[in-house]
Amino acid sequence: MLYAAIVFLPLLGAIAAGLFGRLIGVRASQLVTCLALTLSGVLATYGLYETAVVGPDKQQIVLFTWIVSGDFDVSWTLRIDTLTAVMLFTVTVISSIIHWYSIGYMAHDPHIPRFFAYLSLFTFAMLMLVTADNFLQLYFGWEGVGLCSYFLIGFWYDRPSANAAAIKAFVVNRVGDFGFALGIMAVFFTFNSINFDTVFAGAPAVAGKTFEFLGAEYDILTVTTLLLFIGAMGKSAQVPLHTWLPDAMEGPTPVSALIHAATMVTAGVFLVARCSPLFEYAPTTLAFVTVIGAFTAFFAATVGLVQNDIKRVIAYSTCSQLGYMFFACGVGAYSVAIFHLFTHAFFKALLFLGSGSVIHGFSDEQDMRRMGGVWRKMPVTYAVMWVGSLALAGVPFFAGYYSKDLIIESAFAAGTEVGYLAFYLGVGAALLTAFYSWRLLFMTFHGPTRAHHEVYEHVHESPKIMTVPLLLLAVGALFAGVAGYDAFVGDGRAAFWREAILVLPGRDVIEAAHHVPLWVKLLPIAIALAGIALAWQFYIRRTELPGALAKTHADLYTFLLNKWYFDELYDAIFVRPTKFLGRLLWHGGDGRIIDGFGPNGIAQVVIQLARRASLLQTGYLYHYAFAMLIGVAVLVTWLFTRTGGGAP
């Protein structure tokens, strides 16, 4: 009952605001969604306590049967274990804070009820995703968040760029979802069920088995988990399916904070953690996950270095942090990944909402090159951005320090080749992360202002409805790490996670990560501080350096500025050939062949026939009489050819 309320309260709010928004008005729509979410968040907090500390191992709350067809048996069931409870807590708390913040941020928008309905509906879909007890219900939530993401990215539907971004997000996600759907089918093919319990229980028996496809043998679990991971890559914006995330910043900033930083994009990480009983038996897939994650972490950080749009910097940072989470999963440190997910949700939402506050203050300016020099004018925003950045960079005792450092250490502790690769890429990314975070801070708040005079004069601190949520998130960014450390990844982790996450015996990298050499422990901290110092050097002390560097390394700079040319590459490989093929089929296939021989062609023939039929009618009596006699002759002939004469 408690958990059903957590999940369905946001849906009720969404229905109230979405269907009856015009009826109940703007204020009521805001209040009903915010209060529903807040209540849900409070319940989820208690739920986390109950599940993780006192409760039973696992609860399965059956709502009702969905599909029963032969062996295929699916019901709507809420699966409550520690993993779910953590996700419920994270999602509802972050979402309710963002709901309240949105009241201030969206105050001047003409479509407020719609916005809040979408936000709540998204939250509901996300909660369905994390409480799923089978793959199909997971897929329902998965598609639900994808749909809401599409709605929210394209919320300002009168902007062509927003529509394009929404479509791009949807299409790129379809690629991943296709893999995910195939993965679910592969699960059913292998286990004859898609319920988690059955599938996970059957995994050890299937490990190492192969199946034949097109004459070649494949490992069942490797293929299945790879397909599932492709879905995760799409949703969590991992290279090469990351291109939609930066564009998704076209949506309102609270959306970016909720969906494209704190919650939805972490669904892929959740999926991998949830399916740890499958992934554990597929070492090849895990190696692949590690490589993809590590590469994404590094790649996105390099792109983040040169972006000028404040939200895009944070978007690439998100992409990069998701990479960290994935390579943590890849080396077997699922709980560390979830821990980072948990802390990241707070400080990344904080950074986004903080940047939203900045954008708000600068009259909707997003380009950092036209900001600067305002740290005295917006002290709260400035302070919380510092907190968020410190947490992101992994400076000691902020939230990110606990989770991120442990990820890097885990990668080292894994002791495998891909582990070392992830370690070095992760350390490199940490340097870049620190650098671009302070680049953002310095460019936004410090130095002489580069804003227009009127804009600068107008810069102001945001109202309380926005700053209070910021402060709440800042508290999370400060203490989420230290509060959760012991339970999530410390000595209490076994009691905390119990059966929610499976790590095969002898592969416990977390234990090993706690005993890595000192230099490994210190390296991330040192390198983060170095990054901060470098940024200070570049953007405070010697402000001519960035320009000079960009000139001397022009090729590298444009390469990074154009995001490694991924979009251009896709455009050339997929988009343009598809468009060409589409146009070919449209003009040639549909227009010329189907329409030509189909409707239009038939119409032409009919017109011709009609003309000739009319011409038959000459008006001459002897023609008519002739036709009748010929008709009789034809009928006689016809009859005898058809019946063979019929003569006796």
């Binding site: 009609a610 038959l616 036709a627 008709g631 019929g646 006796p648």
Partner: protein, 483 residues
Amino acid sequence: MQTFLYEDIVPLFPELTVATAAIVLLMVGVFRGDRSTRSLVWAAILALAGALAILVQEPERSVIVLRGMFVADPFALFAKVLILVGSGFALVMSISYIEREAMDRFEYPILILFATLGMMMMVSANNLISLYVGLELQSLALYVVAALRRDSLRSTEAGLKYFVLGALSSGLLLYGCSLIYGFTGTTSFDALTDVFTERGTQPSLGLLIGLIFLIAGLAFKVSAVPFHMWTPDVYEGAPTPVTAFFAVAPKVAAMALFLRAIIAPFAELTGQWQQVIVLISIASMLLGAFAAIHQTNIKRLMAYSSIGHMGFALVGLAAGTPEGVRGVLIYLAIYVAMNVGTFACILCMRQKDGMVESIADLSGLSRNHPVRAAFFALFLFSLAGIPPLAGFFAKFYIFVAAVNAGLYALAIIGVLASVVGAYYYLRIVKIMYFDAPAEPFVRPIGGEMTVVLGVTGAFTLFYVFYPAPLVAAAQTAAYALFP
């Protein structure tokens, strides 16, 4: 040597009513002249109504009287009701036309009565001789009616063409009859049925050719391809009320006669005549669909429409089963309603300067006369066979019968033809509703027109809710043909 009994006369009462009325009215007309046309029309309508009343009161039975020449059975009853109703409506619709267009010739209602009498005799014919006599009585009256406007070139041309071609078709028919008589030795339908059952299945060559000539003569009357050529010219040339009459009652009579002459007497030859009927049915459906597309005259278009509709009705005949005959009868009933309604709309196409009959004159009718346009559209949709209107069910019963009889190709071609045919009906709807308005028509249309439109419109629209009586009656009538 033979005495007529009173019982022999009873089944003839409806025919006698019409005949007596026709002769009496002729006398009145002769002595009072054209001034009496209006009252003569009403008197003729009354006579038809009286005949109808007598007809429906008769007990349901099958009796053969007049020495085997005349049969009164449920089939004849059904057809006669349709004929009387169709003729009656045609007369009602012509009342205002006669006044406004100065077609006040007293012969008009009398000729209609004689034609109706001929039709009633036709559908009750039980012998090739009585068949021919009834047919000629009808035809001679129709030739004259078509040329009723002696001063109009088009009308006389129509009458003349109809007469010459009709004479040719009568020749074909008679030749067929004589061949049949020559090879079987009888002209009686009952005897023909017996001949085939006794002799076995193999018919002689001459008999088959005779059958084809008979079919050709009958096909002329229902204006089936390739004996249809007179139809567009006559429909266009004849005065519009006459065209309306042509389109309804004679078609019903001829089709009923077709059924009567082919189904029972030649039941053993079904495999043979079926081939011929299928061919003319397909040809009629296709020509009706294609040739109508280019027409600009609404009456000419209706001519092709009726060719097409007769093609559809022949599908039911081709099936050769009770179900098929039932389908044809239902088709005819619905066809009467739709055509009467449509011609009522056409007869309302009167501008200040007189009647118009071009499709272009209907432009934007929905804005000038929304109610009339709605009725017209209703009938056109029904003619096109769009559910839930009556015209859909007419086609539905026919095609079901064809499919059950294994005539898949025929059914498919029929459906395709009705798709093509839908185009020209819908085109008129489009012209009425979406084109710029033309000169408005004269109003009011008159009380009798309103009644005709209302009755036929209601039938077309509401048939879907209460089809049972018609289906049951058609069922009984159809089984009368299958001993």
